[in-house]
């Protein structure tokens, strides 16, 4: 016989269980505090950020670049220009497969040095065939090789992007200038988009990117080449931190043959429009209805 009634015992037991469950629930928050602060945890989606919140986000990422990589970087949020929709065309007749575009992408976009990652994959293809099954992206011999042609593949910036529609958290979307971007802070790393992309254009950060401080490109865009965290998706953004300021993308500047043509699809006087009007142009996997803004053409 005790002084406390049975009902009180049950209450205490219930409260203890509740407290234990609550402690278990918030444990990740407590455990994460070492490398993830509350601001980061509470950060809203990129498109819901007001200018103050955006400035906070940017300064936090600039600080972490200094803290984790020892690099002084400038991160900007460059917005699309009204009246501009970007298009890219690639001349298969003069591409020699030198991979300078992929190398320039690797450096410009602060890719992981260990995996030698790049948003561009150059396929060595047999003349007369467009069968990627028989293409080889790992070739390592002098180019151009006889009876081969070279097909660089990167994000096609689709007008109807399957990667966007499969994202369960809307961490990726199509911007008004046609560039498909990723909010690296919102991405949960489920890799659905990687599976949905018919061009194998998306990459996953399996590791925290390794980049020596003196090799970090300090000119960074919040939605483009800032150093990505581990566990998120990334993709080609047509170098929006450059192109939205009128500059050419890094891969085009690196191309020694002039196989790449970039410009505003809405400007009838642009080089890209001349190519579309005068060359034999096709898009990759047209039958899928993705409507790429990346075009391939031949000299004829």
């Amino acid at each position: 016989m005790t002084n406390t009634p049975r009902r009180t015992h049950l209450k205490v037991l219930g409260a203890s269980l509740g407290a234990a469950a609550f402690a278990k629930t918030v444990a990740p928050l407590v455990e994460w505090s070492a490398d993830m602060d509350l601001d980061e945890f509470m950060q809203r989606h990129y498109r819901e950020l007001d200018s103050n919140a955006l400035a906070d986000v940017i300064s936090r990422h600039e600080f972490s670049a200094r803290d984790e990589y020892g690099a002084d970087v400038t991160i900007r949020d460059v917005r699309p220009t009204p009246g501009v929709v970007f298009g890219y065309a690639l001349n298969l007749s003069i591409c020699i497969g030198c991979r300078k575009c992929a190398e320039a992408c690797h450096q410009e976009n602060n890719h992981d040095r260990r995996s030698h990652q790049s948003y561009i994959r150059v396929f060595e293809m047999s003349a007369g065939s467009i069968d990627f099954h028989r293409g080889n992206a790992g070739y390592d011999h002098p180019v151009p090789a006889p009876d081969k042609y070279y097909m660089p593949v990167q994000c096609q910036q689709c007008e109807n992007p399957p990667c966007v529609s499969v994202c369960p958290v809307e961490a990726t979307w199509s911007e008004p200038d046609g560039i498909v971007v990723v909010d690296y802070d919102w991405c949960i790393g489920c890799r659905y988009c990687e599976a949905a992309c018919p061009y194998h254009a998306r990459r996953f950060n399996w590791h925290k990117p390794e980049i020596p401080a003196d090799e970090v490109n300090p000119n960074q865009g919040l939605l483009s080449n800032r150093i990505r965290p581990q566990g998120v998706m990334e993709k080609c953004t047509f170098c929006l931190h450059r192109t939205r300021q009128g500059q050419l993308p890094a891969c085009l500047e690196a191309c020694p043959t002039g196989a790449r043509v970039f410009g505003n699809l809405l400007d009838p006087e642009s080089d890209i429009r001349w190519v579309l009007a005068n060359k034999r142009v096709f898009v990759l996997k047209e039958e899928l209805g993705t409507r790429p803004r990346f075009f391939y053409f031949f000299d004829v």
Binding site: E103, S115, H116, R134, V143, G246, E253, V261, N264, D271
Partner: protein
């Protein structure tokens, strides 16, 4: 690297910049505005600079200088003092032996001027300086010249939006050696380490 401004591009640019300036001054003084069409047509465009190669108008003799670098002699060292007494010498073997001509069936004098060897000449006989060599190339390579004019041949750096910045482009002979213009092979940059390997049945 020497640069020269692509004449066809530069003149309208300067004209339009001038027009903009004139319009701005006119507006500041309170005189009537120019027609909107005229203002729209006068949007300033930055120029396209054409990069010329080092050593234009010089000849590699095939000899090596005492410091180990290849000997290069400016054409004007021997030529350019018209009239030239070429008959009294045998310079072809002496000076020009390192040139391996592999440019169709063209003989030297198809491009080099017969009487002034420090110049080139067009098919109609008009003389050209070496830094105008692109004009010479365009005579035969029309489709490449057309593509080049539309930004679809030859590398470039700078701005796609020429209202915000200029471009630098290469002259034809930066990439194509005039005596042997075919592009020779290069070793590619290393592949990504996650590159899918060739399919086993691929050749």
């Amino acid at each position: 690297m020497a640069t020269s401004t692509f004449a066809a591009e530069a003149l309208p640019v300067r004209a339009s910049l001038l027009l903009l300036t004139v319009t701005a001054i006119a507006c500041a003084r309170g005189t009537p505005h120019a027609e909107p069409e005229a203002v729209a047509a006068a949007v300033a465009r930055y120029p396209i600079d054409i990069r010329l190669p080092d050593g234009l108008g010089e000849l590699r003799t095939g000899q090596v200088r005492p410091d180990g670098r290849p000997e290069r002699v400016a054409c004007v060292t021997c030529h350019g003092h018209a009239p030239e007494d070429l008959a009294s010498r045998n310079p072809t073997a002496q000076m020009h032996g390192a040139i391996r001509l592999n440019h169709g069936e063209l003989p030297c004098l198809a491009c080099h001027d017969r009487s002034r060897r420090n110049n080139l000449h067009l098919a109609d006989g008009r003389r050209l300086a070496f830094d105008e060599v692109d004009t010479l190339c365009r005579q035969c390579h029309g489709s490449q010249a057309r593509d080049y004019a539309h930004g679809a041949h030859g590398g470039m750096t700078g701005y796609w939006d020429r209202s915000r910045g200029g471009r630098v482009r290469n002259a034809c002979v930066v990439c194509h050696a005039p005596h042997a213009p075919s592009i020779v092979g290069v070793y590619p940059a290393p592949p990504p380490l996650d590159a899918p390997a060739a399919h086993p049945e691929a050749g």
